[in-house]
Symmetry: C2
Subunit: 201 residues, 2 copies
Amino acid sequence: MPRAVAGPEIERLIQLIARLPGLGPRSARRVALHLIKKREALMAPLAAALADALGKIVECRRCGNVDVCDPCTICGDPQRESSTLVVVADVGDLWALERAGVLNARYHVLGGVLSPLDGVGPDDLNLPKLVARVHEDKVAEVILALGATVDGQTTAHYITDLLREVPVRITRLAQGVPVGGELDYLDEGTLSAAIRARTQM
Amino acid sequence: MPRAVAGPEIERLIQLIARLPGLGPRSARRVALHLIKKREALMAPLAAALADALGKIVECRRCGNVDVCDPCTICGDPQRESSTLVVVADVGDLWALERAGVLNARYHVLGGVLSPLDGVGPDDLNLPKLVARVHEDKVAEVILALGATVDGQTTAHYITDLLREVPVRITRLAQGVPVGGELDYLDEGTLSAAIRARTQM
């Protein structure tokens, strides 16, 4: 804005909202205005929820998940099978797998994937604890739920190597046609993978 | 999510973020995760900025603008010409006009437009103060900066009627081809208005 049309507190709020992912200056102003209009119904609860979460959020020392307790809700759940350990790059991936709701396993959050270009090496990931957990928890299967990217697959191979001496089954997610996907729009790599991994009808 | 994967504080934060305009459940989770990762750099300042703004935001008793002071920054600015009064429906419209930066006037925020369908009548708008201000501030021109919608134009005509007896010039925004607009994509109403209001080269 060329001149200040509102006090610095409102400008600062807009600037902070604009730093959230998926929001630009225009949508940040829209969000700020909505909050200002719904001060009691939305702004106050949001401020309270942020302050509340801020004071409580911790990283789980076992698996690297973020939660308001340590061990986290999943690590502390006695109903989860500890014989299956799902390795994910990020907490967002853990949430996505939980939404799918097909697993009743425990997780291990690496905190990223190996990426020489971005300067991410093995020491930057939560790997030593992974090896320790596989031993301690008597894990029967490690599912490498990493992205089908070069870095994701490099990381998968690195972990397979790391656990070579350990008597554990190591699997990775299937590659193929996504549900609802049309062949027309799929890239050659996905189609090749789907053909190679074709299954009996 | 089928089961709780995180404490209720995180779930509540996601639910509140999902109520912001332009954000759905998926983008709310993304925003929440981003905040959780950037606890010190973004979540803490945002919580503080929200709490700060929450305690300070007030509606200007003169013009209906929202700000952290009353009278608001614009009403309190002695450099603004008080002879021109720009009538807007909403604070967002005021912000938009200020970004255009062509006016050095004062504003009057109606808090909506007349809308029989939505049950918004003259009593629901900030109209009595408008008439009072036009008298008191010796306003020479009232610019009706209302949307080119049926409700916006109805409101413009209503205000013109309301100020019939007052010796003040009443104008409204020009209608025509938006800057950068291609004729091909414009509706007939806009094109007719642009032809009727054509100007000398």
